[in-house]
């Protein structure tokens, strides 16, 4: 039977499938990894592959070609770290002077670098933009994009990761983005010199989608020409969670009591399908799996619940109280959730309920950074800069 043979083939292909996580929110930029065959349960102690101290901040980890990179702050400097992804051996690091920026929190780095090819790109809170040779750490080019464009720096700085789009780097800098040549850093287009939002530009065809202080908007990645903007006014201009795209639908959401909305694209401007107060993602975006959204509803000042909502209708399926401002990813149909106080839970991603099969305390608070799964290793980082890499490989390679 052709069908069962196809299923068998799919199963074989799926077994122990491993993947890099080269940029923010993973290979498909939605918090979902195709990786299968990793251990979701283990007897006894947490299987730690390696640990490192990377400094203050919430920058996520990116993994490509055997390298893992992240950023942290200490003693008036930000440091970009590049490790051997499997062993934790420090391959290189690069420091530059930076402000702590401790406005209403303890400060430190907030954005995430981006791997592409043999390059690592990094945009700091204060507009320092770097292109590194990923192997050596040599600075290929660097500049301060805020100074160059005149863009003002929002209260918590630039936090969106650079998006590689063809020959360009698209940045959430200015009112409606900025782009430079990825090879040279040369400015290609820019927008009004205002505060930016905090989300990472998300590619959708020729467009890049992101939040600014008053809207979610889409611009042509090559030219910067604006396709549409959807007014989305959030306290302090904090539109931080990346949009979530499925077909012609886009889900957007912000915290500070704002809520979420499902938009339908296709017309001149997006059309609102539904709106909810039940999923207010202040920091990390939710993750879409099998028609359901999984994400944190509420702010860092609350012990926000982890929730599941029906993507089509916005109906709430379940709410797990006390999760806090952590983050979730999904791999092989399982939620990998790191709570705001650093507890890791693994549970089937299902609308029927949150039923963890594994619970492990990885480290202490604050854990506002979503975990990252790459090649069987799970990278967890807290604000104090403890980077703990769990070995979830079924067997040692």
């Amino acid at each position: 039977m052709a069908t069962s043979r196809l299923i068998l083939l799919a199963l074989l292909t799926a077994t122990a499938f491993a993947d890099d996580w080269p940029h923010f929110r993973g290979p498909t930029r939605n918090g979902v990894s195709a990786e299968k065959g990793w251990k979701s349960e283990w007897p006894g102690d947490v299987p730690v592959a390696w640990k490192a101290e990377v400094g203050l901040g919430f920058s996520s980890v990116v993994v490509a070609k055997g390298r893992a990179a992240t950023v942290g702050h200490a003693d008036g400097k930000d440091t970009v770290f590049c490790f051997d992804a499997a062993t934790g051996k420090e391959l290189w690091k690069h420091s530059y002077p930076a402000e702590l920026g401790d406005k209403f929190y303890e400060g430190g780095t907030t954005g995430t670098p981006t791997f592409e090819g043999e390059r690592l790109y990094w945009l700091s809170r204060w507009g320092d933009l770097f292109c590194f040779d990923a192997a050596s750490g040599k600075v290929v080019w660097e500049k301060n994009i805020a100074k160059e464009t005149g863009a003002t720096i929002a209260t918590w700085g630039f936090t969106g990761a650079p998006l590689v789009s063809g020959d360009l780097l698209v940045l959430n800098v200015g009112d409606a983005g900025t782009a430079v040549e990825k090879a040279t850093g040369k400015l290609v287009w820019k927008s009004a010199a205002k505060d930016s939002g905090y989300s990472t530009p998300l590619p959708l065809g020729d467009l890049a989608l992101f939040g600014n202080t008053e809207n979610y908007l889409a611009v042509n990645a090559k030219t910067g020409a604006e396709a549409w903007r959807f007014r989305w006014l959030t306290q302090y201009g904090v539109n931080a969670a990346d949009p979530i795209v499925s077909g012609d639908r886009v889900f957007i959401s912000s915290g500070y009591g704002k809520g979420g909305a499902l938009l339908k694209l296709g017309g001149a401007a997006p059309e609102q399908v539904w709106k909810t107060k039940k999923l207010r993602t202040q920091l990390n975006a939710a993750v879409l799996h099998d028609g359901h959204l999984y994400g944190v509803d509420g702010d860092t000042t609350e012990k926000a619940p982890l929730k599941c909502l029906d993507f089509a209708t916005g109906d709430e399926k379940w709410s797990e109280p006390g999760f806090g401002s952590g983050g979730v990813i999904i791999a092989d149909g399982k939620l990998i959730a790191l709570s705001g106080v650093g507890e890791l839970t693994i549970a089937p991603a299902a609308p029927a309920g949150f039923k963890p099969t594994t619970r492990t305390q990885v480290f202490g608070p604050k854990a506002w950074t979503a975990p990252v799964l790459a090649n069987g290793l799970l990278y967890c980082r807290n604000n104090r800069g403890e980077l703990v890499v769990l070995d979830l490989r079924a067997r040692k390679l």
Partner: protein
Amino acid sequence: MNRRHFIRTATLAGAAPFIRAAEPRKLRTALIGSGWWGKNILKEAMTSGRCAVVALADVDVNIAEIAGEQVNDISGETPKLYRDYRELLAKEKPDIVIIATPDHWHALNTIDALKAGAHVFVEKPTGHTVNESRAMLKAARESGRVVQVGLHRRIGPHHVSGMKFLKSGAVGEVGMVRLFAHSAGGGPEKPTPNEPAPDSMDWNSWCGPAPLRPFSKKLHPGGWRNTLDFANGTLGDWGVHWLDQVLWWSGEQYPKRVFCTGGRPVLGAPVLNDKEQTSDAPDHQVATYEFEKFTCVWEHRRFGGNDSEKHKIGSYYYGTKGVLHIGWRDGWTFYPSTKGGKMEHADAQLVEPDGHNIALLWADFLAAIDQRRAPVASIELAHRSSVLPLLGMISWRTGRSLAWDAASETIVGDAEASALLARPYRGPWVYPAV
């Protein structure tokens, strides 16, 4: 039917529809200054179930819009939004006005709201300068309206029980009080760039009667507390709460002398030029208030706050039987100094995440309106409590101690210091008459 029966029947018959119609009319409530704290107060107004939110004002139309959406989420109401509070007062004729603007706007907002016939809930401290506060008090008296000031520690449960404990004599004779607020922090302060204000914001009106200075994210949101054109630093912001407690406890009207010293050795000299600016409030201050029966010391540091001291915020009442600490999230604790004395403690009961008791203060405000009585943090009391940090700031500016005449509310024999009881307003705004 005898006459008595007739009267009873008639009364009941007449009363029934009246009772149905007399579900108390909701009080038309408006908010001036629609940011973080203003919305905290407004939420309590809405929770009380007796207030209809009719209008919100903010010089930033986006902030008003966000607040309006949040009101709509909670109650389904759609308050009208205003950029100019005077237009709000004229068009909406509110019964209650909540004022949660920066300090430099409190006086004009309050006086105009009272003139428009509203009861007022205004944030602490009352005025930015002493004579503004006096003018607010005068306007309140003339209006006959209720003015509650946001000194929620006057009604917070652990403050009430701590005060009861203190007044019971359990602490003995109290000869000295120390008030303090310490936080951790580093220096020096790096200047923040000046930049255009957001398009949605009328920056000229935000500055209002204060000097117009360039917009910077250092000032807004929130940072104005440490810029002296708009507020009075930690002494004005935090000190007023704890100094108010001292007046509450002691029953004294005013101190006789005030001396304050402090500076910015950690944060460094203030910067204000066409490119950038820093805050300019002191990073630490020590103020001594000499009362008739005791001495009160205020201390704050915006650096070096850690667990080397048992409590970081609050008040120590030093008595012959022991020391009472009344704090914030740590409630109150009595440390006995007599043999066999028992340590006592009460936990705080606060509304989180911001740790306040606005709900109780709001309930008291409504009760005061109903009963035509003075509220618990009335402007009569809060005026004097607000004058204390303001006098501390004048002593700090002039670098010498001040003799205060309580009866005339004037500084004795010091023309330079007396001049700082008021300040010039930027036109067209006019300093309110005392």
